[in-house]
């Protein structure tokens, strides 16, 4: 009786599958990336870019995270330490059993983006969902136009996915990468400044271009203002929302904004869609 649901279990959408963390990578002082596999070495499920997973640290708690990457036999999630639960996640070692259920939510509009140039903008841990889409576009390179990637971190050591941002992506064909840090540091000779002003400084052109904008709420607000100033339409700016979630299936109630549920109807919205919702984000 499960309609259009692609969760790991056949029946019960609230039941996690027991999985194992096979690798823990320290991305920054407060962000770790976990590579997750089922106990028999398979991929827990196949998410679309932008979808979410409910990750359960058995006995401690669970929370919703975006899935930042996937391979043949694994998915990856990057988690930033922000409180008691994420502190506990950061204690995990490879081999740790966890529960995982999902994927939840809608996804980035990979069909609508076809044939378009895409400007990816990420701030802080907000690069995690963006990365799932960047990886998808690179895997389906012929379907998409020019890719611009603008990423802002607090300082060099806070840059997530350093290999991708600093080495791999700049080498990709027809791809431009712009990295900025909020504060200067001795080990950083790149751009220094906040994301919104960097957007204006580069002066991206709106023609034929869609934007994917993810980051802390203040960056989304100011970044969106910068984009509008450059002539981008609200319909062409795509972002993701984060609210407290528990069930992931649009039933437990708390992640609603108006009549929409972030876990089910989101987390991906265009700025134009957000304008239609009550101001309670």
């Amino acid at each position: 009786m499960v309609i259009g649901h692609t969760c790991t279990c056949d029946q019960n959408p609230l039941l996690p599958a027991l999985c194992r963390v096979i690798d823990v990578k320290q991305e920054t002082p407060d962000v770790q990336t976990y590579t997750i596999q089922t106990l028999d070495g398979k991929k827990p499920f196949s998410p679309l870019p932008g979808q979410l997973a409910m990750v359960s640290l058995l006995g401690v708690g669970e929370a919703m995270f975006s899935i930042t990457a996937q391979g043949e036999d694994y998915i990856q999630s990057s988690i930033k330490r922000t409180g008691m639960l994420t502190d506990a996640f950061h204690e995990m070692q490879p081999g740790q059993e966890i529960g995982i259920r999902g994927p939840y939510g809608n996804h980035f509009p990979i069909e609508d983006l076809k044939g378009k140039d895409i400007l990816f903008i990420g701030g802080g841990i907000g690069i995690a969902p963006v990365r799932s889409l960047i990886r998808y576009c690179l895997e389906h390179r012929a379907d998409y136009g020019h890719l611009d990637i603008l990423y802002g971190a607090r300082s060099r050591k806070d840059i997530c996915f350093k290999e991708d941002c600093l080495e791999n992506w700049p080498k990709e064909p027809d791809t431009s990468v712009y990295i900025t840090t909020d504060v200067p540091s001795d080990d950083w000779d790149g751009h220094v400044g906040f994301v919104p002003s960097y957007i204006e400084e580069v002066g991206f052109r709106p023609e034929g271009k869609k934007v994917v904008l993810c980051g802390p709420p203040i960056m989304i607000k100011l970044g969106a203002a910068s984009l509008l100033k450059l002539g981008f339409a609200k319909e062409d700016v795509i972002t993701t929302l984060e609210l407290r979630m528990k069930c992931g299936i649009g039933k437990c109630g708390r992640c609603n904004i108006g009549s929409k549920f972030v876990c089910l109807d989101g987390p991906v919205f265009t700025l134009a869609e957000l304008d239609e919702l009550p101001d309670e984000k």
Binding site: G61, G83, M84, L85
Partner: protein, 283 residues
């Protein structure tokens, strides 16, 4: 002067409320307004002179008004409260607990005539103990001799009987926190019970969690209870909640002498104070 009639008191309340708003120092007056049922009123914030005419005074003005002052702890302007005796003790409670500042309040005291609320029979202070303006002639303080009678009766039961009684009560509890939210002694900025992430207590409304909540609250407010009875009045499941704090108060009275909470802003709660020269070396 003779005792004011109900209608005259209501008139005076409206006058004082309007005066307070007209002074420009007060942003709203908290009192009671009518509802669609004649035997019910509701807490009401009058913010205009026109709205002051909606304030009522009748036997059904039973909700406490003082706790609403906590909704804005750092107000730009004063909040005026219509106060009965119990509300004035609630104000003292919150002033003493450093949750409110006196200069942020304008207090319109009304000598209470007792309301359609069982607790009013037990009232010892019908005249507000703190106010800026008083409506009515101060009434003589009364002694309610039965204050601890129910506790005495309850103490006669065996421990097993007492446990069974409270277990049945806490099986009914729906964990709605109405008792806490109505209680003027429950004035913490953030209640321990809302800190689910810390895990002091679970959210499930089962006997275990409900009892943890009930016991913790009773001990936390026990010596600061002002006996307004709001906890019991608001309980949708009719738990005799005040019996817990009354038990604490009874013990305090027996151990430390006569004590009532909220009589003044200066009083130290019996269990909340200490003396540097305390002869007991427990510290």
């Amino acid at each position: 002067m003779t005792e004011l009639t109900q209608a005259r008191t209501e008139e005076r309340i409206r006058e004082e409320a309007k005066k307070a708003l007209a002074s420009g120092e007060v942003r709203a007056v908290v009192g009671w307004c009518a509802t669609r049922f004649d035997d019910r009123t509701r807490p009401f914030f009058a913010e205009t002179a026109e709205e002051c005419d909606l304030l009522v005074w009748n036997p059904y003005c039973i909700n406490g008004t003082a706790k609403f002052a906590l909704d804005d702890r750092y107000p730009d302007q004063k909040l005026a409260l219509i106060l009965r005796g119990c509300d004035s003790r609630a104000v003292n409670r919150m002033l003493r607990d450093k949750q409110l500042k006196r200069e942020n309040l304008y207090l319109i005291g009304v000598v209470c005539d007792g309301k359609e609320n069982p607790i009013c029979e037990e009232c010892q202070h019908k005249t507000p103990l703190v106010y800026d303006v008083l409506i009515g002639e101060p009434a003589k303080e009364q002694i309610y001799p039965e204050r601890f009678r129910k506790i005495e009766e309850f103490e006669k039961l065996s421990p097993d009987e007492r446990y069974a009684y409270w277990a049945a009560q806490y099986d009914k509890c729906i964990h709605c926190y109405a008792c806490r939210n109505a209680c003027p002694a429950c004035n913490c900025i953030e209640c321990y019970a809302d800190q689910y992430r810390v895990g002091w207590q679970g959210k499930a409304a089962d006997r275990e969690q409900n009892q943890i909540y009930g016991l913790t609250r009773a001990f936390h407010v026990g010596d600061r209870c002002i006996e307004c009875g709001e906890c019991e009045r608001v309980c949708p499941m009719h738990l005799p909640i005040m019996r817990q704090t009354r038990k604490m108060l009874k013990d305090i009275n027996e151990l430390f002498g006569s004590y009532e909470g909220g009589l003044s802003e200066e009083e130290t709660p019996a269990l909340g104070g200490f003396r540097l020269d305390d002869p007991d070396e427990f510290m």
